[in-house]
């Protein structure tokens, strides 16, 4: 018992404070998103989403207590078993799940609906930490790279069957963690290059201009540093591949199903289909953009509560914040997220075991991806993919999943001294 008290005091209250603030702000924004002045209900009213969110928050607190009082070794020991269980659930989901909006992503247990894909994230993070814990695990070797990618790829494969493109994409976030753990640079350079080229290819009508840019960059590369034949040949080959890639992009975009095509094109030109695919982004930007510097005031917004923005209490919850609290409100919330993420990097770096650190970076990867992609989507920087804003968006599954994800790490962190002797 005294031991337990000791570790409770080691808990990182800064992280918990940031978490609580975000959950609280999320909750009051959910209320604003569904508030109806003509039929005003209390924020605690269980018939509206803010009341239900409070139930989810309450149960999340129970989960937090369970996690904090559990034996810290439990998570490490159970990691692979949890992973297998969730893989099985993910396989079952498309078969027996409840169909909503053309997706079978939900399990129905009595009155409750659970989304296994949300929970599989922390299980995957745990499994990756377990896998990569060994000192011998060396990400510079292809063999180990493939093992890590296998662990990440397996849930992705089954989530795509649901099909839930957004949730599947989230797993790519683990590459942030892999980067920290020594994944070679070339993958990242390659990925970023391909992304930049894709954007250029779509944005600039004339591919010759893109080819010109590639040429200039490669020539600069050639003249920087030593010059020799091998370098010339390598750069030449790279150039040829990049040019082929640029030309293939247009072809691939043309071959995509129209609604995927439009989701991409709408980023560059929201007006191509303002009542269809463009509707979400257009309305979302209108809601946020109309907030101005200081916002219209709490519960004074018109765009989200009058349903101009779809999914306004879940994936597009940021619109309510932007509209009613303006840029200052956005600044505060984005500041809180950045503070939380930087705090988690700090915590992860102070871990004494590879398991805790890798898991910590897994948490950072998932939260960061959700945070950045969700807000990017609402302001039209990224295609509309249905992923929630952590701690903010309405929904039991997502709140519970993010809470479990985060608090397992807080639990591990609180035991960092105890674990000290075990490994280094």
């Amino acid at each position: 018992m005294r031991n337990n008290d000791f570790y409770i005091r080691k808990i990182d209250w800064v992280t918990i404070g940031l978490y609580s603030l975000l959950v609280f702000l999320g909750w009051i924004n959910i209320y604003a998103a569904v508030f109806d002045e003509q039929n005003a209900k209390s924020i605690f009213d269980l018939s509206i989403n803010s009341g239900m969110q409070l139930v989810w928050i309450g149960t999340a607190v129970l989960l937090i207590i369970l996690i904090l009082v559990a034996d810290y070794r439990l998570f490490e020991n159970l990691s692979l078993i949890l992973y297998v269980i969730f893989i099985i659930l993910l396989i079952l989901t498309p078969l027996i799940g409840k169909e909503i909006n053309g997706q079978r992503a939900w399990f129905e247990i009595g009155a409750f609906r659970l989304q296994p894909a949300e929970f599989a994230k922390f299980a995957t993070a745990l499994a990756l930490a377990k896998l990569m814990e060994a000192n011998t695990f060396d990400l510079s070797k292809i063999k180990f790279q493939l093992r890590a990618i296998f662990i990440i790829g397996l849930p992705v494969l089954f989530i795509l069957f649901q099909p839930d493109f957004g949730s599947a994409m989230v797993y790519s976030a683990f590459f942030i963690m892999l980067f920290r753990e020594g994944m070679p640079n070339r993958y990242y350079v390659l990925t970023i290059t391909l992304i930049v080229l894709s954007i250029l290819a779509i944005l600039i009508e004339n591919n010759l201009i893109v080819v010109g840019v590639i040429g200039i960059v490669l020539v600069i590369f050639f003249f920087v540093g030593k010059k020799n034949w091998q370098k010339l040949v390598t750069l030449g080959l790279l150039g040829a591949i990049m040019i082929a890639y640029v030309y293939s992009i247009d072809y691939v975009v043309d071959k995509l199903p129209l609604h995927h095509q439009n989701r991409i094109m709408v980023l560059f030109d929201p007006d191509i289909d303002p009542l269809g695919v463009g509707w979400n982004v257009t309305q979302s930007k209108i809601a946020i953009g109309s907030g101005g510097l200081t916002g219209k005031g709490y519960l004074e917004g018109t765009q989200t509560k009058f349903d101009f923005v779809p999914e306004q209490h879940t994936d597009f919850i940021f619109c309510t914040l932007g509209e009613e609290f303006g840029w200052m409100g956005s600044l505060v919330v984005i500041g809180l997220f950045i503070a939380l993420l930087l705090r988690l990097v700090f915590l992860a770096e102070r871990q004494k075991t590879r398991f805790s650190r890798i898991y910590g970076y897994g948490v950072i990867s998932i939260l960061f991806f959700h945070f950045f992609i969700n807000i990017s989507m609402t302001v039209g920087l990224f295609p509309v993919v249905g992923i929630p804003l952590p701690f903010f968006s309405y929904g039991g599954s997502s709140l519970w999943a993010f809470t479990i994800l985060l608090f397992i790490f807080i639990k591990l962190d609180s035991h960092r001294i105890q674990i000290l002797g075990r490994l280094s």
């Binding site: 109806d36 002045e37 003509q38 942030i176 980067f179 920290r180 020594g182 009542l275 309305q283 930007k285 209108i286 809601a287 946020i288 953009g289 109309s290 907030g291 101005g292 510097l293 018109t302 765009q303 509560k305 009058f306 349903d307 101009f308 932007g322 509209e323 303006g326 840029w327 956005s330 600044l331 984005i334 500041g335 997220f337 950045i338 993420l341 930087l342 990097v345 992860a348 770096e349 950072i364 960061f368 950045f372 807000i375 990017s376 302001v379 920087l381």
Partner: protein, 600 residues
């Protein structure tokens, strides 16, 4: 393993967070177009159109009122019909038109109401009223259109119509919006600011399905509409109707003015039209028909048609000559037909005789005396100086420039200046022999029927006039009419000189217009003939009566009716009798005028 990668990760987190904040700053703070779009989305501006002011005649008879019409509005997002054919039958609309209107509504807005069927008749409205609730997304909006209980005074009253793009651009008050109705001619246009009232605006919030969500900002921005002011016009409906009857089947104008006040008693432009034709849904079609009519019923002749004044102008010449001291009542000149043609009358004549007999050579010589006063030894220069001095005196009679009547589109006529002749012939290349036809009201000289009626009023008033006007009271208050209509304008001619003129005008009737003479009322009048190079001359007559205490001054133009003593003088005489006695004692004369048909 210790590397810079945690640092890179921290950097990327901060960098991408900053990217979001910059993007948010761009759309939230630097770009206000989103705020406008948000208002377009959720704020519905509902305009409360005020009741347009009514127009009465001088005796309180209603001339213009508002008739409610009903527009069927549609909210495309909510609208759905199972059985289109039945709907069309029920609402009495063609399927193609329904689809066309619905698509137009959809293009305008998915969630805001737009008209589906415009101006449903009263009968249709009564029929469909109870069944409206069976359909979602449609409702009836009430508007009002102008209506005229008497189909009279069309050109005087004018009409209203949808504001044009040009007018919208020119509107500095920014009061109007697309689709607003505005007075386009006549009293409707001139007194638009008084008649229209003030629009009220209600701001309502609506959700994405167009469902009302209450007042925006608790109604702080809402304004109440204010009804337009009622206007009393100077027209005498009975006289107006009688004049229109007399001019039926003819082209021409009649303007009657009360000399004491400048109030226009009747304002007839013939041929005319039923003002009810230019209201409501029939406006477009009827306007096109009227506009294409070769007799030009939309042409507001009393203020827009211009003719040479002819012999009537000799009275002005006499008065200017007397005032200038060039002529005296005793100035006697010979009827020298070598100068200009004349007709048989005693010779020579003094001024009285010249007016009475309308002697052309007399005015040829008198005008020369007024023009060439040997101010300059150069004849050409002398003529220039003389003409401009004379013109100045003549323009004081309200000629050669717009009078300023309260109707848009008034023409000013023309009294030529030396500059005009300099332009035509060259400076110093013209002299009296070039311009002598001005002496008898011909040549480069034009007046409108309104200016002629005003001349009659000047003769009646012995030298002054009030700008002729159509407005008697605004909102029941005669003091609200524009100041300029209550200000006396002087011709600068001594009232004493008018006695001779008035006497001559009474006398003249027995010579040139015997039909116009009435037993019990002394009418002073003067015939004229406006020469028409393209057909029969126009018949012109001005008069005022009774001579001792003038109640009415009148000008009558009947186009292509020949010499002024016939059609025009008879019409004027009947109008005077109608106004002063309220009834007609000379059915034969009336019959004669009614039978005249000069449109060919």
């Amino acid at each position: 393993m210790e590397s810079n990668r945690p640092l890179i990760i921290r950097f990327v987190i901060i960098l991408l967070g900053a990217v979001l904040l910059v993007k948010l700053f761009l759309i939230q703070v630097t770009d206000d177009s989103y705020l406008r779009k948000a208002e377009q989305n959720a704020i519905q501006r509902i305009v409360d159109h005020p009741y347009r002011g009514l127009v009465y005649d001088r005796n309180g008879n209603l001339l213009v009122y508002n008739n409610p019409v009903f527009d069927l509005m549609v909210i495309p997002r909510e609208f759905s019909v199972k059985d289109t054919a039945r709907f069309c039958e029920f609402f009495n609309i063609k399927k193609e038109l329904l689809i066309e209107n619905f698509n137009a509504a959809k293009n305008y807005s998915w969630v805001k109401p737009s008209p589906l069927i415009k101006q449903i008749s009263n009968e249709d409205f009564a029929r469909i009223q109870d069944y409206l609730i069976d359909y979602r997304g449609i409702f009836v909006m009430t508007r009002s259109v102008r209506s005229y209980p008497q189909p009279s005074a069309a050109n005087a009253l004018g009409y209203i119509g949808e504001i044009s793009g040009n007018q919208l651009n020119r509107d500095e008050s920014k009061y109007y919006t697309q689709g607003d109705y505005v007075g386009l001619s006549g009293v409707e246009a001139y007194y638009e600011p008084e008649l229209r009232g003030r629009k009220g605006v209600n701001y309502r919030m609506v959700n994405v399905r167009g469902i009302d969500k209450g007042k925006f900002k608790n109604g702080d921005l809402d304004t109440v509409s204010i009804a337009g002011e009622n206007i009393q016009s100077t027209l005498d409906l009975e006289l107006q109707q009688y004049g229109e009857k007399l001019l039926a089947g003819k082209r021409g104008s009649v303007v009657a003015i009360e000399p004491k006040t400048g109030e226009i008693l009747s304002f007839i432009s013939a041929p005319t039209y039923d003002p009810n034709q230019l209201t409501g849904s029939k406006f477009g079609q009827n306007f096109m028909l009227l506009n294409q009519d070769e007799n030009k019923p939309l042409f507001n002749r009393p203020i827009m048609a211009m003719y040479p004044p002819g012999s009537i102008f000799k009275i002005v010449q006499s008065l200017v000559g007397l005032q200038e001291g060039i002529l005296t009542p005793n100035t006697t000149l010979s009827c020298n037909r070598a100068l200009v043609n004349c007709h048989n009358h005693p010779n020579p004549v003094n001024l009285f005789g010249a007016i009475r007999n309308s002697c052309n050579p007399y005015y040829h010589q008198a005008f020369r005396m007024m023009i060439n006063r040997e101010v300059s030894s150069n004849t050409f220069r002398d003529t220039q100086i003389g003409l401009d001095k004379w013109r100045e005196s003549v323009m004081k009679f309200g000629l050669g420039d717009k009078l300023g009547v309260d109707m848009h589109g008034e023409k000013g006529g023309s009294i030529p200046s030396s500059a005009l002749y300099d332009r035509i012939y060259g400076n110093g290349r013209w002299k009296y022999s070039t311009i002598y036809s001005l002496s008898i009201g011909q040549g480069e000289m034009l007046v409108t029927p309104l200016q002629m009626a005003n001349l009659a009023a000047i003769f009646a008033n012995k030298g002054h006039y009030f700008i002729p006007h159509m407005i008697k009271a605004i909102d029941g208050d005669p003091n609200l009419i524009p100041e300029k209509f209550r200000t006396k304008k002087h011709t600068g001619v001594d009232p004493a000189y008018f006695d001779l003129v008035q006497d001559a005008m009474v006398e003249a009737l027995s010579g040139t217009a015997a039909r116009a003479i009435m037993k019990d009322i002394a009418i002073a009048g003067k015939t004229g003939t406006a020469q028409n190079p393209s057909g029969e001359d126009h018949s012109v007559f001005i008069a005022f009566a009774p001579k001792e205490d003038p109640q009415i001054a009148i000008a009558v133009y009947v186009e292509n009716a020949g010499w002024g003593g016939r059609a025009a003088a008879s019409t004027a005489s009947l109008m005077i009798e109608k106004y002063l006695n309220g009834q007609i004692s000379r059915p034969a004369l009336e019959e004669y005028v009614l039978a005249g048909n000069f449109i060919y």
